[in-house]
Symmetry: C2
Subunit: 197 residues, 2 copies
Amino acid sequence: MPRAGLDTAAIVTAAAELADEIGFSELTMARLAERLGVRAPSLYKHIAGQDDLHRRIAALAFDEAAVAIGAAIQGRSGRDALAAAADALRTLVLTRPGCYAATLGLTPTGPDDPILLASMRGIGPFEAVLRGYDIPPQDMTHALRAVRSVFHGFASLQASGGFQLSTDIGESFDYLIDLIDRGLRAIAGTAPADPHR
Amino acid sequence: MPRAGLDTAAIVTAAAELADEIGFSELTMARLAERLGVRAPSLYKHIAGQDDLHRRIAALAFDEAAVAIGAAIQGRSGRDALAAAADALRTLVLTRPGCYAATLGLTPTGPDDPILLASMRGIGPFEAVLRGYDIPPQDMTHALRAVRSVFHGFASLQASGGFQLSTDIGESFDYLIDLIDRGLRAIAGTAPADPHR
DNA sequence: GCTTTTGGCTAACGCAATTAGCCACCGGGT
DNA sequence: ACCCGGTGGCTAATTGCGTTAGCCAAAAGC
């Protein structure tokens, strides 16, 4: 029996693609092994187990997101940058639903979890976007969390088919961007260093 | 062997509590049966299977959310109502993490899925909150989706421990409410009937 | 060319969900 | 009071998944 020549990266890449095709919850060791032309136990020579695999897929997803969003905001700022970043993220969620699902429901194992570092990298571009608004430094974390919540929420609701009404989702997305853009301007302009928070 | 006197509602209630205690992903038929003083196959006399159980827990969660948020916004409007609704939702997510997790990642089986109806009921109170802002009717759906995205996003990130930085989460939450409140006012005031959308 | 490491394999275990099929309990009718 | 049918438990068995143990050949290094 000739060797398949697998390595960790190849397995993770294949797993991510498979998850996108059949859905993250349908991703199974046996199916992944079959896709790779190998038996299930062989996978354990390269990954520690299912949990490890999931985390690696998630890390891959975060990195892809960072790259895509980073590229999208090149040369833009303010509302343009916000819209471009959001759109890049949304496209990614729709294109790679399995990878996106892998990033949900993760509990970091510790402060040095690679997942954590990857998610930090994924946030980076949003920080750049926010720099285009006049956010006081002590509010930056809050603003970052807010923006992250907003886009994560929209993307995950869309991904799970949470929007039932027939109204166009793209329009709702534009509306949401408008809402956040205006909110950021208003909050930056009128409450630069609100002491009661 | 005397009968345990179970019924569907009792099982779902117990499952929801158990999910809150040990985590939704740890909820298993065997564990649930043990909690109820019964063997696992007996559960199938009352529920169709695991998927059915999950959907019923989710429906329960949506209904609880609708009640809690509805109660929270009684007699309030505008920013107050927004904050109260958001806080009620957030409290619920923290109090009943298992139930909340059950509502994620559901794909409605069809247009008459009970889950769908329950989630509609869960949205109701937010519609009431939005009535306190001057949202033009044709934008109501968009605004509703936006608000839902925002709070769902924040809650789910918090529930999954997605906020690593040590900054206080409650403060971030206040900031988010401020952001949305100002955004809604701005968008309602300046673009009452934007034709290009 | 021999040895060592490495990356496949088969076999086997434990656990979860589910189904089949049995049998005792409980309520209603005679 | 009795019987009798449906209901709600049970045990046993099946399937499929993740994972571990232990074997053996292929590649890699001396």
